[in-house]
């Protein structure tokens, strides 16, 4: 089977390696890897690459399964099958703004975000007008006067822009096991084993 691990800016997180290891997967080869990397282990190949790329490869059948963040799945809505919540790398997608500017919400919110699709759906779904502004590192956007607020992962905001105040939680995020549409049919047996092993680790913990 061909598996992909989302590694954005570093090796796979230790908590994920722990879960995979407990499920009997060959993690020794991966722990010290330097992404992007392609690792062969026990007859499987593991691709360590940025989440967005891993997801694309999975969707197009170049990978059978992938472990990626829920934030990415929410943004891309890629039509892969989300099989399991691995409950590691817990985080929240939040809407945060500048503290106490005294003015109410403007009629049309300008929101800087790496997640423009999510942002649109969240605000428009609640009947609020929003202008999502695609922005990779959101920390500076409010200070630049570019946006009224940001939608980003809570951990990122806390680290890069602690002066921003979280106003709303949009969704809980964690790493998820997903399968491509073809893999779901063509590797069903292997996939069932994998889900079963990971599930028993999660339920035991």
């Amino acid at each position: 089977m061909r598996l992909g691990l989302a590694c954005d800016g570093g090796p796979p997180p230790a908590a994920l390696i722990d879960v995979l290891g407990a499920a009997g997967l060959p993690v020794a080869a991966m722990a010290g890897a330097d992404p992007p990397a392609l690792i062969q282990a026990e007859g499987d190949s593991w691709a360590l690459a940025p989440g967005a790329d891993v997801l694309t490869a999975c969707l197009r059948g170049a990978l059978d399964v992938a472990i990626v963040g829920k934030d990415l799945l929410l943004e891309r809505r890629p039509g892969v099958f989300e099989l399991l919540d691995l409950r590691v790398c817990l985080d929240h997608l939040v809407y945060a703004g500048v503290a106490g500017n005294g003015r109410g919400e403007p009629p049309r919110l300008r929101v800087a975000t790496p997640y423009p699709g999510c942002t649109w759906r969240y605000f428009a779904g609640a009947g609020r007008q929003v202008e999502p502004i695609a922005f990779r590192v959101t920390a500076l956007a409010p200070a630049l006067g570019l946006a009224d607020g940001v939608v980003d992962l809570h951990s990122r905001i806390a680290q890069e822009a602690p002066e921003l105040v979280v106003r709303e939680e949009i969704a809980a995020c964690s790493l998820r096991l997903v399968a491509g549409r073809a893999a779901r049919t063509l590797c069903a047996g292997r996939l069932e084993d994998l889900v079963e092993r990971l599930r028993s680790v999660l339920e035991g913990s």
């Binding site: 039509g79 549409r181 049919t185």
Partner: protein, 399 residues
Amino acid sequence: MIPEGMRDVLPPESGQLRAIETALSRRFEAYGYGEVRTPWLEYAETLEVADDDTLEAGYRIHDQQGNQLMLRTDMTVPVARLAAARFQDKPLPLRFYYVAPSIRPWAPQRSQDGEFVQAGAELLGLRSPQADAECVALLCDGLTALGVRGFRVALGTVAYYTALVDSLGLVDDDRGKLLEALADRDYPLLESIAGKADVSDDALKALWRTLELSGTRDGLAQARKLASSDAMKEAIEHLVEVRDLVAEAGFGDAVVFDFGLLQDLSYYSGTIFEAYAPGVGLPIASGGRYDGLLGRFDWDIPGVGFAIALDRLQEALEEAGAVPAAAPATLVFAGGLEEPARAGELRRAGWAVAAVPEDADVATRPLLRRQGLSYALDMAGGDILTGGWREILRALEHR
């Protein structure tokens, strides 16, 4: 420059595509399907009866009278329109096939060209599992005839999972969220909604196991165990009958049950299926039963059909090393333009001949060149044969 998502098809790929299209057409005709061709443009209101999300993005234009027209986004709806308009007095069933392009605005995630060719078949007027089975078998037959190896057809039913969700007895709000999660293929979310809605733990576990994987060892047994209503039992037995009939037709190995199979088109009403081939991430073909669709054109008859996406099929054939040969190699005849009769003689002997002027600078093989009164024949990899016209003809006959 051409618009985003569009492409040109060049030789030899165009020849390979033609060979694929011809081979599939022969299979469709072998089952008694007749070819239909429908116009590129339909009235927007005609296509809109399908109530399909993909239409939202379709290309629209206005004619001189101000009517809104639309470039077709698939072929099933035009075929339904055509059948209801022109065949109401004909005996059922009706069998139509098409090999035709449709067009949708390009989206890079969808991994499909903006203009895409589909080869499809529609069987109208039969509600039985036998009709579903014929379509699945025809699909398998076509893929096998072309040499696609290791493909699988996932067989599911809309009737089962909607009944399953109904059987959980959720309030409308939860039910809506659940169906949405199902459409997004987000099983952890399903689990949490059902968890909050107080569905019994056992029922829940069994439910997700049934939905989350396709073709697993005990999928059918699980599905039967979960079937709490007559509608669900009927849906399962209908599908089992389809599978058995497809097996009788000789394609049992290719078919797997998938009770979690979902289709993006909203007009499907019963059996649905998707074909997957190694190396291609998205389905190479998909189809299903759409019993309500013709009713929207005032002819309430059932229908079932499928469409093969030729670009993805081509990928699968490349993966399997089974791309059909395009036309035979072209013999370039330098001097053939000056001697049309002799070029014609070669063509009647079965050669594809590209005639160029005698002094043309040509590097491709095979090459035939007139040299004064004699000819030089240069086949790829062989010696150059020089001689009179009769000698050359004889040599070419033995190739």
